[in-house]
């Protein structure tokens, strides 16, 4: 018996649970969609205008159904794929627990993103998908390639997500709300609004891997196949166009932004499509195809209007179904043959007939052949292009021809021709999900109605009023049909000229490498790394530098502040009364202790002197009537002294090292700068008693009403309770940090 067998069964449960979760979520979304959805609006921090505004409307339904539906299918595939993958990589089956939680979290974040109607909420879910994708793309963390790819995806999509946040803040600054429905009503076509919406669009385009921020997606193919089939077809890249669909009325305030979308989309279609033609790795072909396909969606959003928005929604739906099936095909083929390059594969239709048919349907869907759902996506695309004049019409046909050619090359190369690598049998669960998606695509090709309904409802949300995008078969020579026919014809021609095509595509790929943005990314990363190394050397080389890094700039900033503010009356010396004498005595004790701590060369005596200093100050607090502060000072001082003594008593004895003269003098200078700064600040603060309308008065008055006798405690637990909550959270996070640094993440 294999000793790990019960173990692997146990880890298989996680995958099955994830699949079941996705299936239940899908069913819930389906019910929610059919019963008309619903909305939650809960102002959780009203003072900052933050609301939990979630609506399961048409747009939410479309993307939530995609995230859960494709999720169910891909998760099922993953339950068969992941154990094999882990075995190939010689990793324990238990590593599955590093996989499934992130997949489920990703699905949850996608559903949340789909329903969010608040810009801050959009940002939060947007980043949540980025974080989950980081761990999923970098799942094979023993591979340098995978780690680099994960970091690149996180940086490109995460840094550009900051643009979304900046856009949101700009809009809040102008209209005083983060809520999209309110923004749509209030927004005027001003430059500020245009800049804000352009920033949001940048974040969305980076997420959808559009030129020139597309290069993270091909690298992200280092991820295991289920991740690609989910994130890089239906989820992560779809998050970008989802945001565009959600904020489209804002983008539509500016023609420049919309035209920018069309240009970026067309560039992505052409560049992605051409490079896809030249790739040899199966997943690379599909990754570049994704760049190109989301280019279509971006173009449709740029065109806007009923045709454009309806087309965009149906396009996302169709593409997600087809592309995840194709990614899973690539994974299944690689599992069966051990080969992932198209030039080493061929003739697999005899070994894998079911897979050949199912993925053939998926490829036909992407190529927009009739009797598949894909036909309608192109019909709407051509219809939208038709309204924009002949130039866009020609480009649309070229784009569709490119798609036809590269996906034709992919499928024909895999399943026809001479058999180059023999295929081993693979488990049914690696094929069934693809068949399911193929059946959905064919059903959609015959009964397009429910799919068109879903897309129309989503587009209505984007459009702001009801619209209906209902494609159908029209057996006549209308423009859409002519364009489709010419696209197929051109695609066949492209397929028959492989050599010309390959050289063109290779030239594009080379040009992209030479002046491409990937080079800029690498350069920027290296530069930032060097800068960080320098700062590190300056700041945290040893304890001394890290203290100086805080104290010296602090003192210098205070000096600067005093230089530019008028200081008349800021430094007054008050009278000394009889009651002040105990305080003065305590302060003199503190000064003596401070001098001892600074001058004593020993180890334990300075610590004890510091303790004396602290207790003296605590006594001062008690004397001037601040018992709460005094209590905290006493207990903190006690535990700090104790820990110091405990650590120092265990350190090995070392002979006192002679410091260089320059270093000794540098310490003195740093101490004087910091000390003078603190001295000046405290004197100035004490010279100006707090104004009469201090918040303290209100707090004291209210404390009684809040059932408190001790004002400080009431402030901590009630009036400023939110601060306390955040502070203890920071404390918990700091402990996690300590555990991570000292004990490699073990909590104990």
């Amino acid at each position: 018996m294999d000793p790990s067998a019960p173990d692997s069964t146990r880890h298989g449960v996680a995958g099955i649970a994830a699949t079941a979760t996705a299936a239940v979520a899908f069913a819930a979304c389906l019910v929610g969609w059919r019963t008309g959805g619903g909305a939650v609006d809960w102002p959780w921090v009203p003072a900052l205008g933050l609301r939990l505004d979630l609506a399961f409307d048409g747009l939410g339904a479309l993307y939530a159904l995609l995230a859960t539906g494709i999720g169910t299918v891909v998760f099922a595939y993953g339950t068969a794929y992941l154990p094999r993958h882990l075995a190939h990589e010689h990793r324990p089956a238990g590593d599955a627990r590093r996989f499934w939680p992130w997949m489920v979290l990703f699905m949850g974040a996608m559903v949340g993103l789909a329903c969010a109607r608040d810009l801050i909420l959009l940002f939060v879910f947007f980043d949540l998908t980025a974080v989950a994708s980081y761990f999923l793309i970098g799942f094979d963390r023993n591979k340098r390639e995978a780690r680099g790819a994960a970091l690149m995806a996180l940086l490109i999509t995460g840094v550009s997500a900051v643009a979304l946040l900046i856009g949101a803040v700009l809009l809040y600054d102008e209209y005083g709300t983060f809520e999209l429905t309110a923004l749509f009503e209030a927004a005027r076509p001003t430059t500020n609004t245009a800049i804000a919406s352009a920033l949001i669009a940048v974040a969305a385009l980076a997420k959808s891997a559009q030129v020139p921020l597309h290069f993270w997606l091909p690298r992200a193919m280092a991820a295991p196949t289920p991740v690609s089939a989910y994130l890089h077809s239906a989820a992560m890249v779809a998050a970008g166009v989802l945001v565009i669909g959600r904020v489209h009325p804002l983008l539509a305030r500016s023609d420049v932004v919309l035209d920018g979308l069309v240009v970026v989309g067309l560039a992505s279609i052409v560049i992605g499509g051409l490079i896809a033609l030249a790739q040899d790795e199966l997943k690379q072909i599909l990754a570049h195809s994704t760049i190109s396909q989301y280019g279509y969606v971006v173009v449709l959003y740029g065109i806007g209007g009923e045709a454009g928005l309806g087309g965009a929604a149906l396009y996302v739906l169709t593409h997600a179904i087809a592309k995840s099936a194709l990614f899973m095909t690539a994974g299944a083929v690689t599992e069966a043959t051990g080969e992932s390059r198209l030039s080493h594969l061929g003739g697999l239709r005899r070994d894998l007939p079911v897979l050949a048919v199912a993925s053939g349907v998926a490829a036909a869907t992407l190529a927009a052949l009739p009797l598949t759902l894909g036909f309608f996506k192109d019909e709407l695309f051509f219809k939208a292009a038709e309204g924009e004049g002949p130039a866009l019409q020609v480009l649309a046909v070229l784009a569709a021809a490119l798609t036809f050619a590269y996906i034709g090359r992919f499928w024909l190369g895999l399943f026809t021709g001479r058999r180059r690598t023999a295929a081993q049998p693979i488990p049914a669960l690696l094929v069934v999900p693809i068949v399911v998606l193929a059946v959905v695509a064919v059903v959609g090709g015959v009964f397009v109605r429910p799919f068109a309904d879903l897309a129309s409802e989503a587009a209505s949300v984007t459009y702001g009023s009801a619209l209906s995008a209902h494609p159908a078969y029209h057996p006549d020579l209308r423009a859409e049909n002519v364009m489709a026919l010419s696209a197929w014809a051109l695609g066949v021609v492209l397929l028959l000229l492989p050599r010309v095509l390959a050289s063109v595509a290779a030239a594009v790929a080379r040009a992209g490498d030479l002046l491409g943005p990937r080079r800029a990314y690498r350069g920027a990363l290296r530069g930032i790394n060097q800068l960080s190394h320098r700062l590190h050397d300056l700041e945290v080389r040893d304890l001394r530098t890290s203290l100086a890094a805080v104290l010296v700039p602090g003192g210098a900033l205070i000096a600067l502040g005093f230089a530019v503010t008028p200081t008349a009356g800021a430094y007054s010396v008050g009278p000394i009364e009889a009651g002040d004498i105990p305080i003065i005595a305590l302060l003199l004790l503190a000064v003596a202790a401070g001098v001892t701590a600074a001058r004593d060369p020993g180890r334990l005596r300075p610590v004890l002197a510091l303790g004396v200093l602290g207790f003296a100050l605590a006594a001062v607090y008690a004397a001037i009537g601040a018992p709460d502060v005094a209590l905290v000072a006493v207990v903190v001082e006690a535990i700090l002294t104790l820990v110091f003594v405990g650590v120092f008593s265990r350190l090995p004895r070392t002979a006192g090292r002679r410091r260089g003269r320059w270093r000794a003098r540098r310490n003195v200078i740093a101490g004087i700068v910091a000390g003078l700064g603190a001295f000046a600040t405290i004197w100035a603060a004490l010279s100006r008693p707090a104004s009469e309308q201090s918040v303290a008065e209100t707090h004291i008055a209210l404390a009684d009403e809040a059932h408190g006798g001790d004002v400080v405690t009431v402030i901590l637990a009630d009036f400023r309770g939110f601060d306390t909550l955040v502070e203890i959270t920071v404390l918990a996070v700091a402990i996690i940090g300590v555990a991570a640094l000292l004990r490699r993440g073990r909590p104990w």
């Binding site: 809960w42 959780w44 921090v45 009203p46 018992p627 709460d628 209590l631 905290v632 207990v635 903190v636 006690a638 535990i639 104790l642 820990v643 003594v645 405990g646 650590v647 008593s649 265990r650 350190l651 090995p652 209210l702 009403e705 809040a706 059932h707 408190g708 006798g709 001790d710 400080v712 405690t713 009431v714 901590l716 637990a717 009630d718 309770g721 939110f722 306390t724 909550l725 203890i728 959270t729 404390l731 918990a732 700091a734 402990i735 300590v738 555990a739 000292l742 004990r743 909590p747 104990w748």
Partner: protein, 145 residues
């Protein structure tokens, strides 16, 4: 370490916990809060670490092993109290009973959610400091061996 300390250190935890309990119970009406109470208990535990070493301390007080759980529990308790307000349609950290309403007293203890919040802070602060001291002790011991 001196014999006197070795005898006193383990016996200080009881009084420290008593003081902490008194501070929390009286906290809302008198000086002191969950933070001070937590540091007092942690000081007593830290004294044991310093005097007896990490191994003997943790063998004598197996509950210390659960410190990470107490951190989470304290945070969750505070969060739970904070979310009572939103659940009742009020801003977070609105305490029950509200201002001006009648409060049940058990001796000096006021039954008010603010005290529960303070208890969460106490748990988190105590357990965090224990984890820190534990890590420091293990670190210095590793450095010595």
């Amino acid at each position: 370490m001196s014999v006197v300390l070795e005898i006193i250190a383990p016996r200080l935890l009881g009084p420290a916990v008593m003081v902490a309990a008194a501070i929390i119970v009286k906290g809302y009406a008198d000086v002191g809060d969950g933070f001070s109470a937590g540091v007092i208990v942690a000081t007593a535990i830290a004294l044991r670490y310093v005097v007896l070493g990490a191994d003997r301390t943790e063998r004598g007080l197996p509950i210390l092993r659960r410190a990470p759980i107490f951190i989470a529990a304290g945070l969750l308790l505070s969060l739970a109290v904070a979310s009572i307000g939103p659940l009742r349609g009020q801003p977070p950290l609105t305490h029950v009973p509200a201002a001006g309403e009648h409060v049940v007293h058990l001796g000096t203890l006021e039954l008010i959610t603010a005290v529960a919040f303070d208890l969460g802070v106490f748990l988190l602060v105590t357990a965090s400091l224990v984890v820190l001291v534990h890590n420091l002790a293990r670190l210095t011991e590793r450095a010595r061996s």
